[in-house]
């Protein structure tokens, strides 16, 4: 089949998990014999939008360059429609995008469209996190727009007042997503999609009432990049390493919970150090190290130096890529019992699941793992096996994507 992939943010090298996901899905479908082509928006003033050189990708791609003025519902949908029409695909995959995505969806509605959502971009217009006052927000823009619209505006007020934008707020204004008519557009396009791909069960439940075919398709991991190295042999006076990767500065990632857990552990022992990919090194203590940002290859090396990995998120992680990477690297994972993490980490087998924000429970589990070399090894081995069987890209694409295409082709 001829498959067009339309993405409003794709970057390579990747800027996030959505880029990695799309890259491997396109490659995987190409390997299965499909004709594929990626259409990606690019705007030089927006770092997260289309920072990519198509000739360096292993599949055909067209980059549509937009000036800042063209980032909006008048030009973008038309340019995408013209480019996609010229290629004549049988199916369109509509992937990453924020408030402008429904406009592009409408412009491509003469195709069967499979729409992929990577976070809660459709249900939480404030910041796609579905997080309020440190806990899961019970609202959902699809059902409660008159609650979510003022909340979204409050969240973006500072950006709008200073007229200095990150992509999220930039699209909110450009797409006029504050208007009631935008809500109608969102529902209309959501109902029209042939298939909607959600990240986890909560996400699926939110969208189920608005589309007959919402499916959960997990992300994957590159098991050739994230490989098992034996845990470092440490001298008796050498500290074990507890590692957290991901955007440490983001409060939703729960580094504060990990710091509290570290403080509890530090009262009783000094045989550990917590390393976090975080740029605020003023947080550093005797047992806590902010180690800055690292690219993907460097992160793979960080796992090799770690003894235990932690994903202390307090938001409903849509997927939980870092947990899968840690498991593929053969390390036990302590993760919060939230979102997609609950489906990735098998409690007691590949690691432990803890209540989000519960630093005491996290400290207990970390102590358990620090004290037991055999437990760490067993859980690490089980994690690697699970990563290979459930999250390796090649079998994952083979398992989940052909059924989508069969349904659309019927």
């Amino acid at each position: 089949m001829r498959l067009a992939f339309v993405d409003l943010y794709f970057c390579w090298p990747p800027h996030g998990g959505a880029d990695v996901d799309l890259y491997h899905v396109i490659k995987g479908l190409q390997a299965l014999g499909h004709q594929v082509k990626l259409f990606v928006a690019s705007c030089a003033s927006t770092w997260d939008r289309g920072s990519v050189e198509p000739s360096q990708l292993p599949f055909p791609a067209t980059r549509l360059d937009f000036s800042p003025r063209e980032i909006g519902p008048r030009t973008m949908p038309r340019r995408f429609r013209d480019a996609v029409d010229a290629w004549k695909p049988e199916v369109v995959f509509l992937t990453d995008g924020f408030f402008l995505k429904p406009y592009v969806a409408e412009a491509l509605s003469h195709y069967p469209v499979i729409s992929r959502y990577y976070a809660y971009e459709l249900t939480c217009p404030r910041d796609l996190r579905l997080l309020r006052d440190g806990a899961r927000c019970p609202d959902n823009y699809l059902r409660t727009p008159n609650i979510c619209r003022p909340c979204a505006l409050a969240g973006m007020a500072a950006d709008i007042k200073q007229w200095r934008f990150l992509p999220w707020a930039e699209e909110y204004v450009a797409a006029r997503a504050y208007l009631p008519s935008y809500h109608a557009l969102v529902l209309r396009t959501l109902r029209h999609f042939s298939i909607v791909i959600a990240s986890n069960r909560l996400h699926k439940r939110q969208m189920d009432p608005f589309n007959d075919d919402v499916r959960i398709v997990p992300g994957g991991v590159d098991v050739a990049t994230f490989v098992v190295h034996p845990p470092p042999k440490r001298r008796s006076d050498e500290r074990k390493v507890i590692l957290t990767t991901g955007r440490g500065e983001d409060p939703a990632k729960g580094v504060h919970t990990l710091r509290e857990a570290g403080a509890l552990l530090a009262r009783e022992r000094n045989d550990f150090v917590i390393r976090v990919t975080h740029t605020d090194y003023t947080l550093n203590t005797d047992w806590f190290q902010a180690i800055g940002w690292h690219d993907r290859d460097a992160v793979a090396r960080l796992y090799q130096q770690a003894d235990v990995c932690v994903v202390p998120s307090i938001w409903e992680e849509p997927f939980g890529l870092v947990a899968v990477e840690a498991m593929a690297s053969g390390r036990p994972v302590c993760a919060s019992r939230v979102g997609g993490l609950q489906d990735i980490v098998v409690h007691g087998e590949t690691g432990f699941l803890c209540a989000p924000g519960d630093s005491a429970e996290l400290a207990r589990r970390l102590a358990q793992l620090l004290d037991d070399d055999g437990l760490r090894r067993r859980m690490g081995d089980a994690g690697r096996r699970r990563a290979e069987s459930e999250y390796d890209w090649e079998p994952l694409v083979r398992k989940h994507y052909p059924p989508l295409l069969e349904k659309v082709a019927r």
Partner: protein, 161 residues
């Protein structure tokens, strides 16, 4: 003393510093690059390899609430006599710092990795801030009226929990 031009690459939180240094190195392959980082910054091997030298500022962070410390930073930058000053974000604060440091050539590393010269005039920067803030507040007021004045009339839950 070397004849190589001395370029200061001023660290800011929010971007991978190695990427910024790499862009400057590519743009100015013969320059002597000085990475100016906050006090206590844990420089990585990559970053160290990309800069010819790394200099720490006196403090780990600066704010307008402590003008004396800020002025000390400006004095230190002036005393270093750099030939170029590179910033990582096009922000009014960084533009004003660049202007005050009196380094002859100022450049910005754009988000897509290009190094473009800028003219960080203080008056123009401040005027730009005022205009943007005024426009932003106008737009915000219009959006606020739309959000609070126009309700979504038919919703699955009638708009409430």
């Amino acid at each position: 003393m070397s004849d190589r031009a001395r370029t200061c690459v001023f660290y800011s939180v929010g971007r991978r510093y190695a990427d910024v240094l790499r862009a400057v190195r590519k743009h100015e392959p013969h320059a002597r690059i000085t990475g100016v980082v906050p006090h206590g910054y844990p420089i990585t091997d990559d970053e160290r390899a990309l800069a010819d030298e790394v200099v720490e500022t006196r403090r780990d962070r600066y704010s307008l609430r402590n003008p004396a410390a800020l002025w000390q930073l400006v004095a230190d930058l002036r005393a270093a006599h750099y030939d170029g000053f590179v910033i990582t974000f096009d922000s009014p604060k960084l533009r004003i710092l660049a202007a005050l440091s009196k380094v002859p050539g100022t450049a910005l590393v754009t988000m897509d990795g290009r190094v473009v010269p800028i003219r960080p005039a203080i008056a123009a920067t401040l005027a730009g801030v005022v205009v943007r803030n005024a426009w932003g507040r106008l737009v915000y007021a219009a959006i606020w009226l739309a959000v609070h004045g126009l309700r979504v009339s038919s919703t699955p839950d009638s708009g409430t929990r």
